[in-house]
Amino acid sequence: MSLALRIGGSFSVPQALLAMLPKLPAFPINSIFHNSPAIDERLEELREQIENNHGRPPFMIDNGTIVKAAPKKKMSKRRHRTKLYTPGDKQIHPLNNIVRCPACGHVKRSHFMCMNCFAEIRTFLKGKKRENGLIKDAENPQTNLDPVDEKLIYPGKYLKDDQIRLEEKKWIPVREEPLMFDKKHLKHSK
């Protein structure tokens, strides 16, 4: 029997049978989403709880326990055992050699170049080399072409969606901007 027939069959269940099924608790979804200007009562209650709850911890769900983030997948045996039982040098250690970069004020590893400054200096030096003629860009021989001619000779390329996405180059990993250095963030203050 096909699926459509099955579904069709279910519609033909008489009303008396439906009434026998256990009723689901009614939940007023419409009151939250559709009446947006009027704030929901429960949200108001929650706000009050968070703001002034007389020294008790805020936002209690499930009879006083805070629901924590749950792992998405079971940790594999290897991962689990590496974490718990391998010698210390194989485990991941926190970085303890973090200092302030004197040139930009962000964090950096001591004895290592600050990558934030390095990127700036590298682009600057590349521009300087280009100014001094050490880097020569390939010149386009047809820069003074008439716009009509250009359109005829080089008609625009049609790019598909995936090609456009490739040209955005989001697949190239980019270094994040480091945090500003603050002594309070260090575990061992120097």
Binding site: F112, M113, F118, E120
Partner: protein
């Protein structure tokens, strides 16, 4: 850090060529970014090559350019296609840049690991005293920042500036120019109005260093031993030696 294999025959030949290519490209571009193993390995070869080439060039100082290029035996280290281009740069530029040096032509700067699959530790290999030296511009940026913040320069930066400008041609002057350029380039400073074109940079400049090293109690303690309390050496006194009776 992984070490490059050296006992396999093919790899040995490959590594020799890699050193030669790194050497030629370093001299061509003044600085290159490679993995740390390659940089460390090539550095000693490049140092030896440059020392030999510059020493040989000094011996042939009275000969003309063509003769020097032909008869400088150290240039045989390079691969034949690179010999003329790189050799002429050594004779024309590097020999003038390093008149008193016999070693210490290159520097390795550690970088963060590469952003990619292999996370290889990277480093910069650069020629010292060049216009495109990264450490020179980094130090210039530090001094520029401190000057914009009206903070006196600390001992470590002073020491670094001294090392960078000591053997450079017009060292002090070129460093001063670099600091002024760094103010414009890296901090978008407008010298006419005395303000910054970027509000974010102005906010960034409020982050100040540990002032104890700049104008506090820790000034002048950098080069002193922390372990042993030392007293400064007394100044030399002039001693008058009495005249010898044996000399008439």
């Amino acid at each position: 850090m992984p070490s490059l294999q050296k006992f396999h025959a093919n790899v040995a030949r490959h590594i020799k060529l890699m050193d030669k290519n790194l050497c030629a490209n370093l001299i061509r571009h003044e600085n290159i970014i490679t993995t740390r193993a390659k940089a460390k390995r090539a550095q000693s070869k490049i140092e030896k090559f440059l020392a030999d080439a510059i020493r040989n060039n000094k011996e042939l100082a009275d000969k003309d350019f063509e003769y020097r290029l032909e008869n400088n035996d150290a240039l045989n280290f390079l691969q034949p296609p690179d010999r003329k281009e790189v050799g002429s740069k050594i004779i024309n530029e590097l020999a003038q840049r390093y008149p008193g040096r016999s070693s210490g032509f290159t520097r390795i700067i550690k970088l963060e690991p590469r952003l990619g699959e292999d996370k290889a530790p990277m480093s910069v290999l650069e020629l010292v005293d060049s216009d495109y030296e990264i450490k020179f511009w980094y130090t210039a940026k530090i001094v520029a920042r401190l000057e914009l913040q009206n903070i006196p320069v600390d001992d470590l930066t002073k020491h670094n500036v001294h090392k960078l400008t000591k053997l450079r041609n017009d060292g002090e002057e070129s460093f001063r120019n670099a600091v002024e350029t760094a103010k414009l380039e890296f901090f978008k400073f407008n010298p006419e109005t005395g303000s910054f074109n970027d509000p974010e940079i102005e906010k960034n400049l409020q982050n100040k260093p540990n002032m104890a090293y700049h104008e506090g109690p820790l000034v002048g303690t950098l080069l002193k031993s922390k372990k042993f309390g030392t007293t400064p050496r007394p100044t030399r006194e002039t001693v008058e030696i009495p005249k010898s009776p044996f000399l008439s």
